[in-house]
């Protein structure tokens, strides 16, 4: 095994990890602000994958571009979902929130299974098999585009939370809910906005996932667990942490596939999850709780 292969695998892991990170970012935003565990997160990612796949097959729209309409649609879905359903669960016990979202997840996965069947749907993009040669390394074009897309969306979100008035208000809700209510912020509307943003992230991530993975309902639970693992490894409430956690998980899974077996790659993430929970519960980038 040459160094070049290992280098290739690491780069691949970093690029895939950035897309994972964007997906986890959505979870982190929802959990960090609304304090609801979105256990249907991976299911939403797969719905977005199918949306991007269908847009590609019917209209020939590149998934990298279709992330815009998909993210917009997911924002609206998230906004509506929070307003209609999840808002009444805010502040209720964790297991009740969890059961609500597990119920939703079961409905989504099996709905997808009924509509599309269990078979994976690959999107054959024109550049699916192209790669950039950098010295001895070969980098997938599709992965580069997807990772770049993830970085652009994530920076947009960073900017929104940092500079816009709504973003600042949402951060205020996360930091001090009572204070935010006292100064007259509309908490319910901001929560709905946040849930919408979280789903927009996962929608964008799902679209970006299409060039690098085949859409299948069976991915959804793995994605949900992956997103949780990344958020906890990266550190809850840290946006950079979600991306870094994504890269850490992406690289460790890629290396595990190389050195052991692809079927065993998730073991590494779960081991990492347990280790982080035990030794550094605030995550790599998180603040001390």
């Amino acid at each position: 095994m040459t160094l070049a292969i290992v280098g290739n695998v690491i780069i691949e892991g970093v690029l895939t990890g950035l897309v994972y990170g964007l997906m986890a970012l959505g979870l982190s935003v929802i959990f960090g602000v609304v304090r609801v565990v979105n256990f249907a997160h991976g299911e939403f990612a797969v719905v977005a994958m199918y949306a991007a796949y269908l847009l590609f097959v019917t209209l020939g729209l590149d998934p990298i571009l279709s992330l815009l309409p998909i993210a917009a649609a997911f924002f609206l879905i998230g906004y509506a979902l929070q307003t209609v359903l999840i808002n009444r669960f805010v502040g209720r016990s964790e297991h009740e929130q969890f059961i609500l979202l597990v119920g939703l997840a079961i409905v989504i996965v099996n709905g997808l299974l009924m509509i599309f069947g269990p078979d994976a749907r690959p999107a054959n993009l024109p550049y699916s098999f192209d790669s950039y040669a950098i010295g001895p390394l070969f980098v997938d074009k599709a992965r580069v585009y997807a990772a770049a897309g993830a970085l652009v969306v994530a920076s947009g979100l960073f900017g929104f939370f940092r500079y816009s008035a709504t973003g600042t208000a949402i951060r205020a809700c996360a930091d001090n809910l009572t204070g935010a209510a006292v100064v007259g912020l509309n908490i319910k509307r901001l929560y709905a906005f946040t849930f919408g943003l979280g789903l927009a992230c996962v929608g964008a991530a799902g679209a970006l996932m299409v060039p690098i993975a085949d859409a299948s309902p069976l991915l959804s639970q793995a994605f949900t667990l992956l997103a949780f693992t990344i958020v906890i490894v990266g550190g809850l409430g840290s946006m950079a942490g979600a991306l870094i956690g994504g890269v850490v998980i992406g690289v460790s899974e890629a290396l595990a596939s190389l050195f052991w077996a692809p079927s065993m790659k998730s073991m590494v993430s779960f081991a990492l999850l347990v280790a982080v929970l035990v030794f550094r519960p605030q995550g790599l980038m998180g603040r001390r709780l």
Partner: protein, 326 residues
């Protein structure tokens, strides 16, 4: 329990004891599943409903229980009547490991739930890749009609599993009722409601929670043994799957968390409902298992939205049994 409760309970038990005379093979197989879910539901409810620890990885314990007993039988011919002790011991040891990590390092709520999922998934992938467990291809127990009289080796037909399941579910219910009124039962409730206050009263919260997870894991393993010898096959992708874990928690949640009869009532509602749905959607030409699961999901959402305390407290009121019992 009020006299009326005793009467109802005796009638139900008598009916269940006599029922196999009237039921066909298919209905008996449904009852086996009802008893299985009532039993493991009791075990899970002990941990979540009484001690307040959310486990989403109980498939770990059914899976380990099933695999340990099945492998002892498969490789060494050691019957499940003996193997079940090993199964309980292994599952309890894993439960203790999960509990120790979680409770010692202050991993709580959702984080604890994720820890339990991580353990179950980790074990699933490990079993997928271990040759001596049969790997992803599964482990098959041969069924030999010659040995069908060996009920102690669980080599009988559905009827054997019907009565075994009934006995397990009934024993578990009695055990939980007894535990709930014991010293440890009240300590669980105290820790569930307010751990800080409980510790201030001198309750060793760590010890109390460890006892809950060990008993729950051990009990759940027995259910796994039953299932393994009932189906005569084991696949890591089913035995340790998160869907199995979710199936296990449905009955107690629908029935009523932290109640003694909740898991039983939940199992009696959900399992037949699922079967009816398979039949209905199948006759409509829909993808039956998918439609059933969609309905399960919707049921969960509706129940947790409208009746988060489950069906049993409401049913108890209806039967005129509501009184001092929680």
């Amino acid at each position: 329990m009020p006299p009326r409760g005793r009467v109802i309970l005796s009638i139900v038990l008598a009916l269940l004891l006599a029922a196999p005379m009237l039921l066909d093979r298919y209905l008996i197989s449904i009852f086996v599943l009802i008893f299985f879910f009532a039993y493991v539901g009791q075990a899970w409810n002990l941990m979540m409903g009484f001690a307040g620890q959310l486990s989403l990885g109980h498939a770990l314990y059914t899976g380990l229980g099933g695999y340990v007993a099945a492998m002892l039988w498969f490789y060494f011919g050691i019957g499940p009547w003996l193997g079940v002790f090993a199964a309980v011991a292994v599952a309890a040891a894993f439960g203790a490991a999960v509990g120790w990590l979680g409770f010692r390092f202050g991993i709580e709520g959702v984080y604890f739930a994720l820890l339990t999922i991580a353990f179950a998934e980790f074990t699933r992938i490990a079993f997928d890749n271990m040759p001596f467990t049969g790997g992803a291809g599964g482990l098959f127990l041969s069924y030999d009609a010659q040995r069908s009289h060996e009920w102690w080796n669980l080599r009988g037909g559905p009827l054997l599993f019907y009565y075994l399941g009934l006995a397990l579910a009934a024993t578990a219910t009695v055990l939980i009722a007894w535990l709930a009124r014991s010293r440890i039962g009240y300590q669980w409730l105290a820790v569930r409601e307010d751990q800080q206050a409980a510790m201030a009263l001198g309750i060793n919260a760590f010890r109390v929670k460890m006892i809950a997870v060990i008993i729950s894991a051990g009990m759940t393993a027995v259910g796994g043994v039953l299932l393994a010898f009932y189906y005569n096959n084991l696949f890591p992708a089913q035995a340790f799957d998160i869907n199995r874990s979710i199936e296990i928690i449905l009955a107690p949640i629908i029935g009523g968390l932290g109640t003694i009869f909740g898991p039983v009532v939940g199992a009696f509602i959900l399992t037949p409902l699922g079967e009816v749905l398979i039949a209905l959607t199948g006759s409509l030409g829909l993808n039956a298992p998918g439609a059933k699961a969609v309905f399960y999901g919707l049921t969960l959402m509706v129940i947790i939205s409208l009746r988060p305390n489950g069906v049993w407290p409401w049913l108890k009121q209806l039967l005129g049994l509501a009184e001092i019992e929680r």
